[in-house]
Amino acid sequence: MKTDQLIDMLSTNVEPVKSGQIWKPLIWALAIGGAASFCVMLATVGLRTDAAGGVHIGFLALKLLFMLSVISTGTALLMKLIRPGQEAQKLFRFLFLPFLAAGFVGIVALALQPPSAWDRMILGTEWVTCLFCIPLFAVVPFALLIWALRKGAPTNLKRTGAIAGLVAGALGATAYAFHCPDDSLTFMAIWYGAMVVLCAWIGARLGPWLLRW
């Protein structure tokens, strides 16, 4: 085939491009993915029970703050990553902030308590549940995010996959926070942080394979 022939083909009946075509799928993926992981949480472990002390607004708010800051920075980064030729280095550094902040308060919380309390603060009552639930709740958001990102043109597939995994993991952790009976900042920093990072790592491995275009 000659290139002129192809150009004729491509420039016959050119449709105008609507603005918003690029970010709408991402927003949908976040909204539906978030709702789906909340439903999976309800269907499996359920909301935190009164037996576990009912909902503790303060700790729930801190967990949500941690995760929502990861989600918002990650989403802003994804918006850049699906547009070829855009520098995202600065924003990328911002991504570490929530983790550093959570790690810092986690250590401070430990320092304020006697070592005898550390076991309970680190392992909580349900660290194993947390370990399984966050990646499980992240599956649907991850699939939806991949679908949305494929509508863009990511050129760094590994990094885009990693951020997609990170955001999906954070959505999963957000849903899990409504169940989580462990009111400990150290617990949050370690297990929430580690599981979200694990999701990012899986995303980085899958990215080049799922996002190729």
Partner: protein
């Protein structure tokens, strides 16, 4: 290539094309094909690959530029967007043909020329063969809208589909063609 001289012009064409101006879009793709050909020949020259492979890549990049043009942010420069796509397609080509930067013979480094209009070279792709790989509905939509140049509404009547279905089919078809180019290209290299 002197980016500063072509950027404003290409950008103007791109913006008009995004608005649905077919003539501007065609002019843009023609200008870009010359630049892309120079770019890919320069890159491929270092791997001892010839003009046919370069033409495959030019066509692949043009389809990518066309089907992904909604990813261009009008508040940014246009040239980096094009080159990010071209570079992505080149790296992808290296990966699927299992070449690597290590194969690079330095003495064969070819100079990239700014514009290369050697349009006589055909890619290794046969349009009819590629079209045969599409589903009948999609093939029909591409045939009417993109090759025969019927309007979307005329094509909708002929295919017995709604206009939005025709548009979706055309879009899918172009992406499927790009995918087949990728696969065909890989077959030729192996």
């Amino acid at each position: 290539m002197d980016v500063r001289s072509t950027e404003p012009e290409l950008r103007t064409l791109m913006m008009a094309g995004l608005g649905g101006d077919a003539a501007a879009h065609k002019a843009l793709l023609e200008r870009l094909s010359g630049q892309l050909r120079a770019y890919f020949k320069g890159q491929l020259g270092r791997f001892n690959r010839g003009p046919v492979e370069a033409e495959d890549l030019v066509q692949e990049a043009l389809i990518a530029i066309h089907t992904r043009r909604h990813t261009y942010d009008p508040s940014q420069l246009f040239t980096p967007w094009v080159y990010a796509i071209a570079h992505y397609k080149f790296v992808d080509y290296l990966r699927r043909t299992k070449s690597s930067i290590n194969d690079l013979p330095i003495e064969n480094a070819a100079e990239a020329t700014a514009q290369d209009d050697s349009t006589h070279v055909e890619s290794s792709l046969d349009l009819e063969k590629l079209m045969a790989g599409l589903s009948p509905r999609v093939r029909q939509a591409i045939q009417y809208v993109k090759i025969e140049g019927l309007s979307v509404s005329e094509a909708a009547v002929r295919c017995g589909m709604s206009e939005s279905n025709v548009k979706v089919s055309v879009h899918r078809g172009l992406k499927a063609l790009a995918l087949q180019i990728t696969r065909e290209g890989a077959d030729h290299e192996d």
